[in-house]
Symmetry: C4
Subunit: 358 residues, 4 copies
């Protein structure tokens, strides 16, 4: 089967991955209803296309924070990509580079941020607030040094969501997949297989500071001139607070249904966050994006762009760098076509499309 | 099985057609959610019948633009009908003639418009905006000459929607099915089978002008006195612009779910288009009509009539001209009964029926 | 299996009836979506029970028009009940008598109205407007003579809905089942089996006057002092007109989904009819009642009572008079329990229950 | 399988219990639609988590009426727990004690209230209004004596809901399971197996006073200084009346779908009850709680806490005291995580979370 859409890639990945890794990638927290609700809510957003645009062109390019991008998509930060393919983040980052989209390096990447940055595409750094401001600052300085164009602080993981699939599988990292940015030592917990528990969750509980608060973010804001983005915002009151803090962007996300198990669908939360922000910072959308039509949905609702996560992992699993590239090409092709078919020469026009909730 | 409803005809057609053609007819673009949403939305429109009409008669006749019609239905423009039956458009046009409904000749008809017009029923011409205003004008002049009573310009295909079934099937036209109005040459791309791509889409990309805009339509308006109808309007702002341009009608349509893959269900878009138009031009409804009850739904919501597409192709596939005739007879029988059972002596009364969205 | 609810009785009936009769009873018109929508809409009506009623009693008795009834239920008028059991309407009427509920004799009953009335329970007569005011008047006079306590004029059958199951089955009446009130002659069409058509529909088309109108009803109002009820009202404008005519009641009904195939669910139409009528005449509810909880739903919404149809036929099919009695006992038991559990000592209290649409 | 969530425990219990007991526990009244609607409605309540709480702590402790509790959960009063495990209520009460949550002793407990109270955890007493104020008062005095910290009067069982599973099974209590608080005699009816009827329902009909009313409650209010809670309130008018009576709390409940078969989902009724009460008494939520996320849903909507019923029985069935403990631990773990992941250091913060109905 030649994959014609991301659903095809997901099927291929599902066939190729061992169950433990597949479940680690595909699973959500609790009853996984948040994941399902993300898709249901996206499917119900329908658009009113315009006609007779008069150009026959559709320019998908945009600016995401300080980064010029070929389309309003960034590769979401995702841990341990070498689980999917030996080339891990390097393969995915090359695909992102070729698609001209930011690759967001996870704190828990299995290649170092410096290696990934050396691929040559635009990169952002995602920060998990690990214990110790010194360690945090060290990661930030390395990110600045490596040329990261934005700093994405994940704010929805004070604690890892309980992902039952990983617990059932007693999932742990294989020895050759490490948290490369953190050095091999602290991640040893993630390698210690234990029946009835997720080693990755154990490691997270050890490594992350669960008490990170707005004060810490204010401190961080003072430490760097990189564009600062808060990932995992759903409540408009938090979005406003992020703006007041001086954040350059917020990412409306429920972590793909992997964290808070009773969360609102991400796209349901988007309009009020946009209202609260009122254009004072960038707003990106995350959680559930599977097609270029989804990208257009988010843009039509007012988002500046989206993050795409699991699909890139499925691409890696299906065919390494080529698979990741295919995923991004599919998104681009679909988005471009969706713009053409909705009469939008560019993303600004797309922002004027009307949406209906069916 | 004697087919008692269009669903029966669809089943028969499904049994008789080779997969490639069946998929070409039945498929939609992207995840095919627009198609499904069309039906769901129609099914949710329920009507409040009136009682004691006092006549026992139900007059389904109406005027569709300049054409007197036996019922408020036109056969939608559909390409290459010889794929379904050797007699192709001639068979379907004869059925339409006998049902006294306009047959809308596709630019991509597999019999020439002159042959189809010679069948003797009311015909309209559907224009795909091919490259070159001269070629466009030539088609329009031929349509005028052939006695077409309206000119339907399809405005939702600047580019062909990505129909995965055709791509998977590597669908191409058999050599004996040609775009008869355009001559055999330009359509050669549509005959070139290529694994992993739709030859029909390739041809479209070559033949159609993706940059057609409102200016082109204004120019066309100046070139002909035929009633001018824009097909593929969903946004009320476009409907207003069509009125301002001097269009005689708009067709609210999402191309049966074959074009923009995240489109609003057609019937969901209808009320606002009707409001925007405010009676200043005709409004026809297209996409998803499968029963006479659907025709009544559209009329009760305020439409002047509907287009019916795939069912006529299923009729052709099931039994050629007789099959197409059966489909139109079923629609007429069902519509007539629906009028009787909703206490409406005619379509004007039907326009006063109340609707509920359940 | 001992049947514990009407769904159990339906299953039993389904096992015992030949397909033709089962389909005649269970089928609806067109795509049968109206039938399905009736149930979905009823299921979504949820009630807020009250507590601490303080009596431990639940009085289900009421007055339905001029008839004192043991519960707010009448047996709906249904044709040809000898199809279900040799005792036909006599069996059902005996069950109704014992349950103290009105049995509504159909114009098309397979026992004569006089025989049915002689059973001794309260009976009403349902009038199909057959050709000729003399014939109509003759039926009305016979009904008066026989002691019928109300006259129910069915206004939603100017023409019989197209019930595909009957057409597929080529359904016709067996020779020993006749329209007893009309004499054997006129119903011969209903006995003439013809492939691809419903003999019952053929007979209806011959026997009924499709042009019956408000004037006819006004004439009828002047001919009898019996309480006059119009069955098959869904639009509040018709309900008002019925009141203006001097009707004593309206029955909100879509004929169990057997007539107009795109009709609103009956319970969805009920509140606006109640508003329009404003207490100026009785309002009964019909179409979809399957449990005592459904009876309470209708009463809580404001109806004076309900008609129950198919369940009684299922009872007849399952076990003749005993089966019909069981059905009415189940309804009574369930209604009584529902009143007790919603804290209502009587139906007046039930009318004050709050409803929620989920 | 190690049970990781209550759904796992339910599966285990389902495997271990004989059908009669399983159906007695799992069944609802009538068509069991109320049960299903409870879950559907809860699943549709989605929350907007907050971020950057800044503490990393989540304090689940609270006060439920006069009782200090480790989390806002009480074990719902449930009859005859020795059906599930030989240790019955003693096992469950020990689990509740260890989880620091109130165990609500049923009037129909199969161990005496004194035995259960001697376990040493906080206990409340649930009163079914049996015949005779003397008997009622005797139960209340024993409850006071035994150290019960609240008196929960169930007001939604003037009569037992018709649970078809029990009737089909001819369910009766085994001889070694008795209504220990009432002495062996009166419950003999519950031990008399009879085909086609539920012995438990028969006993209820004999033992309970169906005529209990607001006057009785007023009298009871005057008899005891224990916090008085009314369980089974859904209509806000009843909630107000409870407040006026001097009740200390109301429990919004439809008895887990076991009583009034057309009841509103419990969570749908909650907001209006909260509005009506306006903080003048405690409001607890019951019916459908299966996860810690559900506890948080109720708290976010404004409830002071929840009752959890069937899950504790499943725990007993799966593994006695350990199983019940596991269920309460799962709820606690999930609630604690849900608080952490929604940025709430405590339940007061949880009360400020916004909810969305999808």
């Amino acid at each position: 089967m030649i994959p014609l859409c991301i659903a095809d890639v997901a099927r291929l990945a599902g066939e190729r991955l061992p169950q433990g890794v597949r479940d680690f990638v595909d699973g959500g927290s609790g009853d996984e209803s948040t994941q399902a609700a993300n898709r249901t809510a996206l499917d119900r957003v329908r658009l009113l296309p315009r006609v007779l645009g008069g150009t026959g062109e559709a320019d998908t390019s945009t600016k995401l924070l300080a980064t010029t991008a070929g389309m309003p998509v960034a590769v979401a930060p995702m841990a341990y990509q070498r689980l999917l393919h030996a080339d891990g983040e390097l393969a995915a980052a090359r695909a992102a580079r070729d698609a001209q989209v930011p690759f967001i390096i996870s704190t828990l990447s299995s290649c170092t941020m410096e290696e990934i940055a050396s691929v040559g595409g635009p990169v952002w750094f995602q920060l998990y607030w690990v214990h110790g401001r010194d360690t945090v600052l060290d990661l930030v300085r390395r990110a600045e040094q490596a040329g990261c164009e934005a700093l994405v602080v994940t704010v929805d993981v004070p604690h890892m969501g309980r992902r039952l699939r990983d617990v059932r599988n007693g999932f742990s990292l294989p020895s050759d997949v490490v948290a490369a940015n953190l050095g091999p030592a602290p991640v040893s917990a993630a390698h210690t297989r234990q029946a009835g528990s997720s080693a990755v969750a154990t490691h997270t509980a050890l490594a992350f500071d669960p008490a990170v608060g707005w004060d810490d973010l204010a401190w961080l804001r003072g430490q760097t001139t990189l564009p600062l983005v808060l990932k995992g915002i759903l409540d408009p009151r938090d979005a406003e607070r992020a703006v007041d803090l001086g954040a350059d962007g917020v990412i409306v996300s429920n972590h793909g249904g992997r964290q808070f198990a009773a969360a609102v669908p991400s796209v349901t939360a988007l309009p009020e966050v946009l209202d609260a922000v009122g254009g004072r910072c960038s707003v990106l959308f995350d959680s559930g994006v599977r097609t270029g039509m989804d990208v257009l949905r988010a843009v039509a609702l007012g988002a500046d762009g989206v993050l795409c996560g699991r699909p890139v992992l499925w691409g890696l699993a299906a065919d390494g760098e080529a698979g990741a590239r295919l995923v991004l090409e599919l998104l681009h092709t679909e988005l471009r076509e969706a713009l053409l078919l909705s009469g939008c020469p560019d993303l600004a026009a797309a922002g004027e499309l009307r949406t209906v909730h069916v």
